[in-house]
């Protein structure tokens, strides 16, 4: 199945149709998405600031990381589910939206940054008790903060650039851009 056909299938799905019909669902799904991404960003920021030695540096990195990252993943899963629910009813428009595509790219880059850090940088021994980890760790932290802020910005930009591609029921002010 080609990507456009896949996007069309999402658009035609029952969940997408339900989201288009239900006027109350969207604000709740959007709010949950904001809360989820806020939790992802906030928890990752705690880990990144520890990595930079700027906050909470008296605690070992692995302790901070083990404490925060499970919460990050739960919030990330919630962001994916709510994000999918926002994407589905308007899938074709989102797919063609530049801010949306850049956001997906930034998510991939954030994932790669995290993978490189955990698989390579964090494996090197005897640094995690240091208040100031070595340069590769600090670079990963700066990249992570920058990428997640970018993801939030692009997320907000999607709402202001995309419009919508289905007809709105009569008598309803249904403005995704706001």
């Amino acid at each position: 199945m080609s990507v456009p056909a896949f996007v069309q299938a999402i658009y035609d799905s029952g969940v997408a149709e339900w989201m288009r019909q239900s006027l109350k669902a969207m604000p709740f799904v959007e709010s949950a998405h904001v809360l989820a991404i806020a939790t992802v960003f906030g928890t990752i920021l705690i880990v990144d600031l520890r990595l930079l030695g700027w906050a909470g540096a008296h605690r070992p990195f692995s302790v901070v990381s083990r404490e925060m990252l499970p919460k990050t993943w739960v919030a990330f899963a919630a962001a994916v589910v709510t994000g999918a629910l926002m994407f589905a009813p308007n899938a074709i428009t989102y797919y063609g939206n530049t801010a949306f595509r850049l956001k997906m790219l930034a998510l991939v880059l954030a994932g790669l940054n995290m993978a490189v850090f955990h698989l390579l940088t964090a494996r090197s021994p005897n640094w995690e008790d240091n208040a100031h980890p070595p340069a590769p760790g600090r670079v990963a932290a700066v990249l992570s903060i920058a990428l997640w802020i970018t993801i939030i910005f692009l997320g907000r930009w999607i709402g202001f650039t995309k419009g919508y591609d289905f007809s709105v029921p009569e008598d309803v002010q249904f403005d995704f851009a706001q």
Partner: protein
Amino acid sequence: MFEFARWLGSTPLSIGIQSISWLTPLLQAIHIVMVGIVFVSVLMIVLRIHGRVRTDEPFIHTWRRFAPWLWSALSVMAFTGLILTIGEPVREATALSFWLKMILIVVAVVSVLGLRRAVAGIAGPTIPAGTRHAAKLVLLVWITIVFLGRAIAYDVEVWRSLSLVHHT
């Protein structure tokens, strides 16, 4: 109040904000980045009260780690929120969610300070169940604020006849 909002919307400052197309999304994006800092700071304070994080240090250390971030980010949010409101005063004044949000922000700030006081008054290492339940409630207030913030854009859909749009 609606008259005031209409007047505010016609001032050069408001029109200036409205005329810069990228300003509103920029301020909203900053606002959401700050939600991350504020919400997770409160979450950490509440989870520490529940003994779920940072049990290797006393509560006051957790408070001192996160309170400055909480207040700083909240100040930025007050500023971005103020500019956004001046840019769209009628939309905000006619949204029931906006007014509920403003009331709950006061409740949230007072209650988080109350938690700090309550925990400071505890002698032993165990935090009583009452304080732990109160902490959960405080977290719920902050979550509700996030929902109300998003609901401003959907006031009629969420509140139907209760929306202040019908009372202008």
